[in-house]
Symmetry: C2
Subunit: 129 residues, 2 copies
């Protein structure tokens, strides 16, 4: 298994446990999370706040899995494509399941650690938003 | 216009003029081009060879345009999504037009220049290949 695939599974696991401290370790300091089309969170403080709001909005029921991940490396950058399945309860308590083709950009720091610089679970669907 | 949008339009223009020297300036030294699903070219020598083969295969008729581009920046990394239209003649001489939702990863070098580290015109369709 590619180390970035293992890393993303570990990040999903941390999200599912709602361990936001662990989740934040996966991001670079100035990473960007696409919260929804047209709304980005940039930097760890904004991302943490957005993830907290998402957890709250889904009544702490968020469960993310990715059954297929493809890694394309180019030097110290990597593009990861993932087929994500997001299960949650909406504010009314109904179960929802959303499938997305996600795109992540990772960058390798000078100490050789891969971290997520761009987390865009909407993938190229932003072109159609 | 975001500087990365201008850069991609300039790269498309260089491809359409078949000015491979100019095209190669847009890539990092160890960039990766997804030539087709399952086949990547890594490093400038391989990318140049692949682009030359694609030009040859399309009887030097390749014409790429992108009418919509979205940039998501995260520090010195950027994800660019593009709605690409690729027109060319196939080996039999017939006109073909392919539309793709492309994904590009750019990285900013220490001298402040953005270069393409990953060129994946197939976008998330690789997950379905």
């Amino acid at each position: 298994m590619h180390e970035l695939v293992a890393l993303i599974h570990a990040a999903d696991d941390a999200i599912n446990r709602e361990d936001l401290d662990a989740v934040m370790d996966f991001y670079t300091e100035d990473a960007t999370l696409v919260v929804r089309p047209g709304l980005n969170a940039t930097g760890k403080a904004q991302i943490r706040k957005a993830l907290g709001a998402i957890a709250e909005h889904s009544s702490h029921s968020l469960h993310v899995t990715q059954d297929k991940l493809i890694v394309v490396e180019g030097g110290d950058s990597a593009l990861v494509l993932g087929r994500a399945e997001i299960r949650a309860k909406d504010p009314s308590g109904s179960d929802v399941c959303i499938e997305r083709e996600a795109t992540y950009v990772f960058t390798k720091s000078l100490d050789g650690v891969w971290r997520c610089a761009i987390d865009n679970s909407y993938g190229t669907s932003l072109l159609r938003a």
